[in-house]
Amino acid sequence: MANISLKVNGQSRMVATDPTTPLLYVLRNDLDLHGPRFGCGVAQCGACTVIVDGAAVRSCVTPVRTVENKAITTLEGLGGVAKPHALQAAFIAEQAAQCGYCMNGILMNAKVLLDHNPHPTVDEIKAALDPILCRCGSHLRVIRAIQRAASQLA
């Protein structure tokens, strides 16, 4: 056990945990942030994605000690129901989720994409999201929602 100091969604948080614990379980169980989701535990699906210092990271294989004092953003850090981020608002407007389980990974990777490329083409969106799995088949609306968000953020 160790005390780990984290910066999550702009707040400093201290957790007492085994430092080898993957970040995902610390976020979900110690910090009650359920945006990042468990999908595979082996970095294959992307459902656990968080943003660490501006980069999309698979939190299910990231030991918590490796992100100490780095800026971590979770889905909750983008916005909530009361004040959604433009991306979240665009996904709601396009009704772009079915079960929604994979949407954390899609939204977080879309956020990183738009941060680096504010006007992505459809092919660029597909390439950026290709590593993220969705089983319900929401892909087409996801692409439209990201385009909508891009036009509103510009």
Partner: protein
């Protein structure tokens, strides 16, 4: 649905005197002795069930005018929470926003059967509609007394009742009944899907629908897209511990020894649980549970062979005696007609084991306290889960409370609720709430699968180019062997499975065509292994039908190609009096820009060839037709599906945008299953253990999807969440033939199979 908002305690706190499902609060002592446990599964006069003849079992009016609608159905991510609320809002004359759905809690809702088979709007829709119509009728009665006006003179708008010719005289629903019970009975008969509720109350005419038919946005999406939604894995109970199951080599492999010292170095381990062949660990943290399950040294008495080989399974499926024969059509003299001279055709088609591939592996939280049990789970059949757990623990059903919390999309997989039983066994062992989260490997290997199928087809064609004899047979394993039977944990502690599972059905085999001598049959082949295996089965989206439709619609295309007839025109020849079906087919063809010509397309010169293919089916009243457009790389064998056009007729459309989205999902999952998906296994077990070894379709490979919605508001709604997947593999198979002139009779259409077919060309004809 948000499980957090639905605990009965909170409901009581929020609404003061209101006690919905009040008969559950005090019933145990009154009637416990009257119904022997397990003797009755009817909700009528049975303390194990909420009574459907009480209007309060269905509806509760809040003082602020909100109305809670209670349903035993659940939302699996398809949007039925929204669609059912639309139906209730219309019938009650309240704004949509004032309806709140309470779903899938066995202590608070009527058992309306599993959420499955695309039958929620079709079956539960009318049940809730009639309950709502009864509620409106009762509210009007109360208003008539209060406003001193006959009920016929009253009008309702936005939950406010007013006197038609004196609109100043009015009263709101919330003021009439808010926080109080209806205390009236409604008629009901039948069980679950077949339950008929209050048929004597006239519902509204479809012409008066204001909310039904609108694309109302999904109520739960804002929470899902912000991390505020409570999925099954997000349920947290005070004092909750984390459990993992250690999987044996086969379900019934006995642990010879369990070395508890092997995990002593892991901090936070609470207990190693061992019961029969069930071994699990419970720990204070999830990470400790994960590490302990991985590190725990268990020596299993391993069988020499865990599974049949794929070759053995295939041979057995081809040759084993049918345990049950089914027929959807059997008319004329099929064998006689096939024995006569004329053009004959014959072919066989193969479909592999496939998996549901939930994005979130199975998860449940259980709290076993003495003989009382509470389970939070994403089960498609909360009552089924309840009954299994009651049987496993030998407690009355009413002692087990299942609270639904939505998991990830499951497409039939959660008709078998394995994690709930795991969690119950672990919780019982530590007398504390335990959460069990399956690993990805657990889910890929141990989830029940959609079964392998083999279809054989024979046909005879007359001189006018019309099919006169059609003999279609599907040989398949039961598709629901794991549904309603003991789940893995229950079997591991000794329960025997008593059900063989539902037969694989016969739908999708061309039964909707007009053919003089016509037989569409199914043979149910019992699974060859006694032990419950990782290839046990449960419903996978339109069970059996994508495979049967792949065989029958490709076979039909093979005949059309041999005759040199356009595939759409050839189908229409056999649909002369089935207007709804032919209209759906034509709608798909027209929207796709279909040009009349026979398949295959004229040969292309380059490395890539394009083709189009069509397929048609009917499932439980819903008619679907698809046109797929593909590009085949003749050098690599890779198939890219570029566009799929679907025409969809499911009667009344409750929510057009929701239906369009379901069609998107069916197309994309159907393309994935047709091109990529096959469960790999060998004698040592299932080898498709994660997404690397069981790939599914990704963003770069997603086709364009176009849908034509055929609305028939005068007809009752039928299903929309799964029929469209049925026609996708056949349409793609036919498009590949159109592109390159070779016929693939085995799914998935991998590059290796495409190349093999191209090499062995010409093999395209099914002519016998």
């Amino acid at each position: 649905m948000d499980a957090k908002t639905l605990s009965r305690r909170e409901l009581l706190q929020n609404t003061g005197a209101l006690v919905v499902g009040f008969n559950l609060m005090g019933w145990v002592n009154q009637t416990e002795a009257q119904v022997p446990d397990g003797a009755a599964s009817s909700p009528y006069d049975n303390p194990d069930y909420l009574d459907p003849t009480l209007l309060d079992s269905w509806l509760a009016v809040m003082p602020d005018g909100h109305i809670t609608v209670y349903t035993g159905k659940v939302d699996l991510g398809t949007g039925v929470e929204t669609a059912l609320a639309q139906i209730a809002a219309d019938e009650l004359d309240v704004p949509f926003e004032r309806i709140h759905m309470a779903m899938g809690d066995t202590a608070k809702t009527v058992d309306q059967g599993r959420t499955a088979g695309s039958q929620t709007l079709m079956r539960a829709g009318p049940q809730l509609r009639q309950a709502a119509a009864s509620g409106r009728q009762q509210l009007l009665k109360l208003a008539a007394a209060q406003l001193a006006s006959p009920a016929e003179m009253l009008a309702v708008r936005d939950g406010v009742v007013s006197v038609a010719n004196d609109p100043a005289k009015k009263v709101a629903y919330g003021d009439l009944l808010g926080g109080k019970r209806f205390n009236v009975t409604v008629s009901a008969k039948g069980l679950q899907w077949a339950m008929v509720v209050a048929p004597e109350v006239p519902p509204k005419s479809y012409k008066d629908y204001k909310v039904v038919g609108q694309s109302i946005p999904r109520v739960e999406l804002p929470k899902k897209l912000t991390g505020e939604f409570t999925y099954t894995p997000d349920v947290r109970v005070p004092g909750m511990l984390h459990g993992r199951v250690v999987r044996p080599a086969t379900v019934l492999s006995k642990p010879v020894s369990v070395d508890e010292a092997s995990i002593r170095h892991i901090a936070g381990v609470v207990k190693v649980v061992r019961e029969g062949s069930f071994v699990g660990v419970v720990a204070q943290t999830e990470w400790a549970a994960i590490q302990a399950a991985k590190a725990l040294k268990v020596t299993w008495a391993e069988p020499a062979k865990k599974l049949q080989t794929p070759e053995e399974v295939t041979e057995y499926l081809k040759t084993a005696k049918s345990s049950r024969d089914l027929k959807s059509v059997d008319k004329g003299n099929v064998d006689g007609a096939l024995a006569q001279s004329g053009k004959k055709f014959e072919a066989a088609y193969d479909w592999p084991f496939q998996m549901h591939g939930m994005m979130g592996p199975s998860c449940a939280v259980a709290d076993v306290r003495g003989d009382k049990v509470t389970v939070w789970t994403g089960a498609q059949g909360p009552f089924t889960t309840r009954d299994r757990i009651a049987a496993m623990l030998k407690v009355p059903k009413r002692n087990v409370s299942i609270i639904f919390a939505e998991g990830s999309g499951c497409y039939g997989r959660l008709t078998a609720d394995d994690a709930a039983e795991d969690a119950v066994l672990l919780s019982r062992a530590v007398a504390k709430p335990v959460r069990v989260q399956w690993t990805r490997e657990d889910e890929h290997v141990w989830s029940p699968k959609g079964p392998q199928q083999r279809m054989t087809a024979r046909a005879a064609v007359n001189d006018q180019g019309k099919i006169v004899a059609w003999d279609y047979l599907d040989r398949g394993f039961p598709w629901s062997e794991a549904q309603g039977t003991p789940q893995l944990a229950e079997r591991q502690i000794g329960a025997k499975t008593e059900l063989l599972g539902n037969p694989n059905g016969v739908g999708g085999g061309g039964e909707y065509y007009e053919i003089e001598h016509h037989r569409v049959a199914g043979a149910v082949i019992a699974w060859p292994q006694d032990d419950p295996s990782p290839l046990r089965t449960c419903a996978l989206r339109s069970p059996g039908e994508p495979a049967r439709n792949f065989g029958s619609e490709c076979f039909l295309d093979e005949i059309a190609a041999d005759l040199g007839v356009d595939p759409v025109q050839f189908r229409l020849r056999h649909l002369t009096s089935s207007k709804r079906i032919s209209e759906t087919l034509v709608a798909a063809a027209q929207k796709s820009g279909w040009r009349e010509r026979p398949s295959p397309a004229p040969p292309s010169k380059g490395a890539k060839a394009s083709g189009r293919g069509v397929a048609l089916s009917v499932r439980n009243g819903t008619i679907i037709a698809a046109v797929a457009e593909v590009e085949v790389d003749k050098i690599t064998g890779k198939v890219v599906v570029q566009k799929v056009t679907v025409a969809h007729d499911c009667g009344l459309i409750v929510n057009p945008d929701g239906l369009r989205f379901q069609i998107d999902g069916n197309v994309i999952q159907g393309v994935s299953r047709a091109l990529l998906e096959e469960v790999k296994f060998d004698a040592s077990g299932v080898q498709s253990q994660n997404w690397a070894t069981y790939p599914v379709l990704r963003f770069r490979e997603i086709p364009e999807v176009e849908a034509v919605l055929i609305n028939r508001p005068e007809l009752p709604p039928t299903g929309g969440a799964e029929p469209a997947i049925i026609v996708i593999p056949a349409a793609i198979g036919n498009a590949i033939f159109d592109a390159v002139g070779v016929r693939l009779r085995q799914v998935p259409f991998t590059p290796e199979r495409v190349l093999a077919a191209l090499k062995s060309k010409p093999s395209g004809t099914a002519r016998a």
